[in-house]
């Protein structure tokens, strides 16, 4: 520790010590008191003087305390005395007041005021209070206000010297202004005067006050007087006593010395500087201009340490605030670390508790399952109905295509025949067209069914054409005779598909006949059959029906051109 610091601490301790010592002397001069006794030596009044003096010394000689400031000032004190028996009772109250010159000078003087209650009051008092006060031990605490008419006034003076030595004593004198108050009894009193001396006595019988801070005070001990001019004194001469017993709670005298707070301030400041490291640390480094670098935060010139620190803060995600000249904390961009084991356990427990099933959940689940099953059954039923309707729709669709195919085949044949046979074929075609137009196949189908409708359409044409002569007429008949098996064709179409059924039908029933009749080359006939089949099945049944005869005629013409070299007029 450097000398300056050491001196500072020593100075602080010295100040505190001086402050406490100052308080020590200050406390010693605080308000205190002296215990004293009255010793009666003179009686001036009616009656025997010696007897009266003895009476007063016996009855009213208890010690009491006067209070004063050792530095001087007003003096106060009270004395309560009582004497009585079953037949006699007297109460005396003396109030001492005056001035004290101080412990150095020691002179003290003042006046005595009080009152006296004597016989005549006895009966009343005895009846009212004697039992409660246990033979007048309670005189000091009894309210005597109600007995003012019975009080006889006492006035007097006292003086002496109090220096804290064994010679402290003085004199007193007071007069009891008694009159014919108690003349009701046989005793008569006239005013009388008592005088004597007062002496300081020891602390025996005096309550010891609280030795708070005054424990630091060394009491002023005086030697007990070797001889006392009183007979009743039984004080042990060897016992030390305190002349100035404490009479009141002491003030907080330590605060009266300014050295104490000053010393405390010095000590506290020194300790603070020491704790703050201002005395133990190296001087703060002063950056020189040559060591400055550019700040990564705002571009200003800062020390390398400052720049490094700023770079670290920026890397951590902090944002530089130019206004405040510091960094603003923002949420770090770095991912946080994994939760601790306890946190994981807690999260898992919370999740399990959250997902735990309850009886109510099971009930809801069962009800839900029942509803789902019911809906599923309904869906299955509707699905079955749907498939049924789908099959019906496919059947009707296929059937309509078959009709179209049959009709198309007939139309195609008619057109081919008309093209090939010249005027005779034309007649056949005309007749066929008429027959076709007159037959309402759709109505027949709707009224009597598919089989009858097809049968009717085919029969109508075949029966008309059956009367024609020649090979070609025979072919026509054979062809349309086979059409009676249209119902079977419908079944094939349902089972094997429309395309396959149409191809088979045309190959077997149409192409073979044409090939046999008109074509010398079998390969060419096969190509024709494919062409016709593709032509037929490439069109939907519905569209084909709508286009009607026009398409059929075109088909027939195309077929005829293909078969007969593109020339109308037929084969001769």
């Amino acid at each position: 520790m450097k000398p300056l610091r050491l001196i500072t601490f020593i100075l602080a301790i010295l100040l505190l010590t001086a402050g406490f010592l100052q308080n020590h002397s200050s406390v010693s001069a605080q308000t205190s008191g002296a215990e004293m006794e009255l010793v009666y030596s003179e009686y001036q009044g009616t009656g025997n003087t010696a007897e009266s003096v003895e009476f007063w010394n016996t009855g009213f000689s208890d010690p009491f305390t006067i209070v004063f400031d050792q530095k001087g000032g007003p003096v106060t004190g009270e004395y309560w005395g009582s004497i009585g028996s079953e037949t006699s009772m007297m109460i005396q109250y003396l109030s001492f007041s005056g001035e004290y010159a101080g412990v150095e000078n020691g002179t003290i003087s003042g006046t005595i005021d009080g009152w006296f209650l004597a016989k005549g009051f006895y009966d009343m008092f005895n009846q009212l209070n004697a039992a409660l006060c246990q033979a007048l031990d309670c005189v000091e605490t009894t309210d005597w206000t109600g007995y003012d008419p019975f009080k006889r006034p006492i006035t007097g003076t006292w003086s002496g010297k109090i220096t804290g030595s064994g010679e402290d004593r003085g004199v007193f004198t007071f007069t009891v202004n008694i009159s014919d108050y108690d003349l009701a009894e046989s005793n008569e009193f006239t005013p009388y005067t008592l005088s004597g001396s007062w002496v300081a006595v020891g602390t025996e019988g005096i309550p010891t006050s609280v030795p708070v801070l005054e424990e630091l005070v060394e009491p002023i001990i005086i030697d007990p007087p070797e001889t006392l001019e009183r007979e009743v004194s039984d004080t042990t001469v060897d016992d030390a006593f305190t002349l100035f017993p404490d009479t009141d709670f002491p003030p907080v005298t330590s605060a009266q010395s300014p050295l104490i707070p000053v010393g405390g301030a010095l000590l506290g400041t020194s300790l603070g500087f020491w704790a703050a490291g201002q005395w133990g640390q190296k001087p703060m480094p002063v950056p020189t201009s040559t060591n400055l670098v550019v700040s990564p935060a705002n571009g200003s010139m800062v020390t390398p340490d400052e720049a490094r620190w700023q770079a670290e803060k920026l890397a951590e995600g902090w944002v530089w605030n130019e206004t405040s000249g510091g960094f603003n904390a923002v949420q770090l961009k770095h991912p946080t670390s994994d939760p601790s084991i306890l946190a994981k356990i807690a999260n898992e427990a919370a999740t399990n508790a959250k997902n735990a099933s309850s009886p109510l959940d099971n009930l809801i689940h069962n009800l839900h399952q029942e509803r789902v099953e019911s809906i599923r059954e309904m869906m299955d039923k509707h699905q079955q109905d749907f498939y049924s309707h789908i099959r019906d729709a496919q059947f009707y669709n296929t059937a309509s295509k078959v009709v179209s195919t049959v009709k198309t085949a007939a139309d195609y044949s008619m057109e081919a025949l008309a093209f090939a046979t010249g005027p005779a074929g034309k007649g056949v075609k005309t007749f066929y067209d008429t027959a076709t137009a007159s037959v309402d196949v759709v109505v027949t189908i709707q009224d009597e069914g598919w089989g009858e409708g097809i049968q009717k359409a085919a029969d109508s044409a075949v029966d008309i054409l059956a009367g024609h002569t020649g090979d070609k007429g025979k072919v026509i008949k054979e062809i349309y005779g086979e059409v009676k098996d249209g119902a079977q064709f419908v079944n094939d179409a349902q089972e094997q598909g429309l395309t396959t059924a149409s191809r088979n039908y045309l190959d077997k029933k149409v192409t073979d006949q044409f090939k046999k009749t008109f074509l010398p080359d079998a390969d060419e006939a096969g190509s024709m059959a494919e062409w016709v089949g593709d032509k037929v099945v490439s069109e939907t049944g519905e569209v084909f029906i709508e286009k009607g005869i026009e398409q059929s005629n075109q088909l027939g013409e195309d077929t005829g051109r293909y078969l007969f070299g593109g020339e109308s007029g037929g084969i001769n």
């Binding site: 709670f249 003030p251 907080v252 605060a255 010395s257 000053v262 405390g264 301030a265 400041t269």
Partner: protein
């Protein structure tokens, strides 16, 4: 622009003066607080004859304590700033 820091000796003197003033003010206030504090403590313990020796000691030490603590805090307040 960085402000020049106060010299340490000036800090010390300032801390000392402030803490002295605080302590002296405390020494002035304490005697006036004695009776109310005694009455309060007696009321708290429900004993009118209670003689709070501890309270007396505490009150007597108040000026010392406040000056010491204020001086310490002043010294800490004048501590050079090494961080942000």
């Amino acid at each position: 622009m960085k402000q020049k820091e106060m010299p340490r000796w000036l800090k010390f003197i300032l801390s000392l003066v402030v803490s002295c003033v605080v302590g002296l003010v405390g020494s002035i206030l304490v005697p006036h607080l004695q009776k109310p504090m005694v009455a309060l403590v007696a009321r708290l313990v429900r004993d009118p004859l209670y003689e709070p020796m501890t309270l007396y000691i505490f009150l007597a030490l108040v000026p010392l304590l406040v000056s010491l603590v204020s001086g310490y805090l002043m010294a800490l307040a004048f501590r050079p700033k090494v961080g942000r």
